[in-house]
């Protein structure tokens, strides 16, 4: 597909004898809100780890904006514009919230720092400005998730991968995070959302790919996915 921002082609990842990803192909278009779903253990996070560079792929190709990044180290992918948040928040605990944002600003965004917002501005849009000088230990669960997103934003992503940013949050908090993600999308950032909360993914995504046991089993609009019998089977069994 020409013009895709991210092309994952026949990606394969094995852990010993376990096939975590079996020739998975996905394309994400510029500006798209893309949903990635699947039951537990279906390979969503493994796919994200391979795309962001945390894990080396065993086969296949990953292309971002026309560059083959399959064997590029993670920090260079971040500098190209692929930025992820973590499912379990991984803040820099010895630093304040503001200093946490300083790391990507200094290391990933340097060339692009002039454009766009500084750390305080990002904290403002995400609603953490009043916590700027606290350490992560003093934050609540939802603030921790927001810090993950804020820190990712500070790296000036072109493609933001949000790995279960809403797991374990209350319904009002889920809406809170969704609002933030919609706003980022409106700024032109392409977003891949990995989520178990169906209400959120279905509302957010323009297109959804479903993984099951390391294979891609369906792709379509939220409506099509909701009606797809294979997806129902993967989630609920027969």
């Amino acid at each position: 597909m020409a013009g895709a921002l991210l092309e994952v082609d026949g990606l394969t990842k094995r852990f010993g004898g376990f096939m975590a990803l079996n020739r998975v192909t996905i394309h994400v278009n510029p500006g798209e809100r893309f949903g990635l779903i699947g039951p537990n253990g279906s390979g969503k996070t493994t796919l994200i780890n391979c795309v962001s560079g945390s894990l080396p792929a065993d086969g296949g190709r990953i292309v971002f904006e026309g560059h083959d990044i399959t064997s590029m180290p993670a920090h260079r992918r971040t500098r190209l514009g692929i930025v992820r948040s973590f499912q379990i928040p991984k803040p820099f605990r010895s630093m304040t919230v503001l200093e946490n944002l300083g790391i990507p600003l200094e290391n990933a965004a340097h060339g692009r720092a002039a454009e766009g917002a500084g750390a305080m501005e990002i904290l403002g849009t995400i609603g953490l400005a009043s916590k700027a000088h606290l350490r992560p230990a003093g934050l609540t669960q939802i603030e921790m998730r927001k810090l993950e997103l804020a820190r990712a934003m500070a790296a000036r992503p072109k493609l933001l991968i949000s790995d279960e940013a809403m797991a374990g949050l209350s319904s009002a908090e889920v809406d809170d995070i969704l609002t933030i993600l919609f706003r980022l999308s409106a700024q032109g950032i392409t977003i891949i959302m990995i989520e178990h909360i169906m209400r959120a993914v279905m509302r957010f995504s323009e297109r959804i790919v479903v993984l099951d046991a390391g294979e891609r089993i369906a792709e379509g609009t939220p409506d099509e996915i909701g009606r797809n019998p294979a997806v129902e089977k993967a989630y609920l069994g027969e």
Binding site: S52, G53, S54, P73, A74, H75, T78, R79, V83, R84, F86, K90, P91, F92, R93, S94, M95, E99, G102, I103, P104, E106, N107, A108, A109, R151, A154, A155
Partner: protein
């Protein structure tokens, strides 16, 4: 810029003070003891660049220190190289070893890295013990060059160590306040997150292990002239491993001043104990103080001060 000039001035002032003290010609033992304390300032500072800033605990300090010392021994035996050459060569060889353990961090993290560095020290000591050219396990006597400045070689080495300590601390302070130091703290807090936020973690780790190794080697290079008799058990003494870790932990690992405070306090206490009680008391004191700090003040004296100030 004004900051750098200020740092330089303070550094030069300390070196000048060191030379002034050398000209005072007080009790020779004081220079002898002062050398050891300053040597620990260098060692603790060097250790802290990797262990404190980067969070990689190196138990192999004796390997780097002794490699610096034995590089000097080889060069003295071979061409009677002058002291500046010994310092540089000792530093470079240990820096290479540092670069090597830097690549270990690709696969070994946390306690496994520490165990590997400890093993490294033992392997290196065994090799030196079986190398006759540098005296093997029996050791080797080294003749000091004649006609040193200040009329006494230990006094001269004392001033050299003052300059090395100032140099090491300046390097550590520079690293701490640059993007390198901030990147190292990020990878200490969470290496995966740091890498995903654009921090070139491997490059920073290699930088830290190499610089740390260099400074440890430099600290060891004058050792042969200081003791005049080098043998593996003293060059690879466990004291270096324990002190290198205890001093920054007691002073505080997050800032360049922490290892300096720790080295001066603990180093002085050890020298005092050696004279007044017994030389065996050294490590006992370190052990007790370290346990007390780990339990009561895990962030060292710096952390205590910060807490007392109510921050």
């Amino acid at each position: 810029m004004r900051h750098t000039a200020g740092t330089l001035l303070v550094g030069l002032a300390v070196v000048a003070a060191g030379i002034a003290v050398a000209m005072l010609r007080v009790n020779p033992y004081l220079y002898f003891a002062g050398y050891v304390i300053l040597q620990y300032v260098v060692i603790a500072t060097a250790w802290n660049i990797l262990g404190g800033y980067g969070g990689y605990v190196n138990f192999g300090t004796p390997a780097f220190f002794a490699l610096g010392a034995y590089t000097a021994v080889v060069l003295i035996q071979w061409i009677r190289a002058p002291l500046p050459v010994l310092l540089l060569a000792g530093g470079l060889v240990s820096a290479l070893l540092g670069l090597g353990i830097g690549y270990l961090t690709l696969r070994l993290r946390g306690v496994f890295f520490s165990i590997a560095t400890l093993a490294l020290s033992i392997v290196l000591q065994t090799m030196i013990m079986n190398w006759d050219y540098v005296g093997g396990s029996r050791g080797l006597s080294v003749l000091r060059p004649s006609g040193p400045p200040f009329g006494n070689y230990v006094v001269f080495l004392f001033t050299v160590m003052v300059a090395l300590a100032v140099g090491a601390v300046t390097v550590a302070r520079f690293i701490e306040r640059s993007w390198i130091g901030r990147g190292l703290s990020a990878l200490r807090d969470n290496e995966e997150a740091a890498e995903c936020m654009g921090v070139p973690t491997l490059r920073l780790k290699l930088f830290a292990t190499t610089v740390s190794g260099f400074l440890l080697g430099v600290a060891g290079a004058p050792f042969p002239y200081y003791v005049t008799f080098v043998e593996p058990n003293s060059a690879f003494a466990i004291d270096y491993a324990v002190n290198a870790l205890a001093m920054p932990m007691i002073g505080g690992t997050t800032s360049w001043i922490g290892p300096v405070i720790g080295a001066v306090l603990l180093g002085s206490a050890q020298q005092l104990a050696t004279v007044t009680i017994s030389s065996e008391m050294n490590l006992f004191i370190v052990g007790v103080v370290l346990v007390a700090f780990v339990v009561l003040a895990p962030e060292g004296i710096l952390g205590l001060v910060r807490r007392l100030r109510g921050r």
